[in-house]
Amino acid sequence: MLMCRELAGIASDYIDGELSTGRRLSVQMHLMMCRHCRSFIGNLRASTELLRGHSSARVEPAVIDRINHRVTEALSHRPETPDPDPDPDPDKDR
């Protein structure tokens, strides 16, 4: 019989659908009988969704600006339309 502590240990696997059928069924059985674990799974799922909605990896605009600056500079050293089969540059003088 699955105990609450054990269920808490595999709660994420249950939420993500990573459990075997047998394991999943025993979690479902337990959840039918245990409101605390129902509450825990619900809370854990909501915490996860919170993260999905949260721009958890928000980037400072200044970081983006610095990257764009470098990319722009690098692009200016690149031919406008790439030759699909570029010849070695005959004018290379360095």
Partner: protein, 207 residues
């Protein structure tokens, strides 16, 4: 998060524009993909070096994207470039692994069970509100930022790549160089911390 009806169509259009070296395409790609790339870099190196690595990666992408064949998605491909660059830089890595992969429960949660394995201190919350409503609470959002900042780097990166960037498990394992079972533990440990944080926040109003 951007939900797109035809992500692949849009992505292939973006890839073609990147291959042509169009500035606007790069600006769009940089703003879309940099956050995830930084999360990958921060898994391997400290934050101060992460930005520089991501910058360098974007510069290499200018040429490398011409060889992009679309076997993986653009995002996964970019994340792998960052991961490979970090791994090359860190041939002798002293990365601190702060997760005990044998423990599936956070100590703080573990202590809430009786020896019988039943709850002694059950969850106090009911999540009646949807995540969107909760996030409208700016203080909670700030609190989330703070706690994400305090997660061990490996747990945070796993969480960000898996949740915020919706990578498949296989891709996260590949990018972060972890086994599938260890990834499961990292995700679960990180989610428990977020759960505990939200619980405390809702109960006390404090972060």
């Amino acid at each position: 998060m951007t939900v797109n009806a035809h992500p692949n169509l849009d992505e292939s259009r973006l890839v073609e524009a990147l291959k042509r070296g169009e500035q606007a395409a790069f600006t769009e790609a940089v703003s879309t993909y940099t956050a995830g790339m930084l999360a990958v870099a921060r898994y391997y190196v400290d934050p101060a070096n992460a930005e520089e690595i991501v910058q360098d990666c974007w510069v290499t992408v200018i040429d490398a994207v011409r060889r992009f064949e679309g076997r993986s998605g653009l995002k996964t491909w970019l994340h792998r470039i960052v991961a490979n660059r970090c791994k090359n830089l860190l041939r002798t890595s002293h990365r601190e692994i702060t997760t005990d992969f044998t423990e599936r429960l956070e100590p703080e949660l573990e202590s809430r069970f009786k020896t019988s394995g039943r709850w002694a201190t059950p969850p106090k919350l009911r999540f009646d509100e949807s995540a969107d409503v909760l996030l409208e609470n700016g203080a909670l959002s700030d609190c989330l930022d703070k706690h994400l900042g305090h997660l061990p780097e490996n747990q945070r990166s796993a969480l960000i790549l898996y949740e915020a960037h919706q990578h498949k498990s296989d891709d996260v394992c590949n990018i972060l160089d972890v086994s599938a079972s260890n990834l499961r533990v990292m995700l679960h440990r990180a989610r428990q911390k977020i759960f505990l944080m939200v619980e405390t926040f809702q109960e006390t109003g404090e972060c």
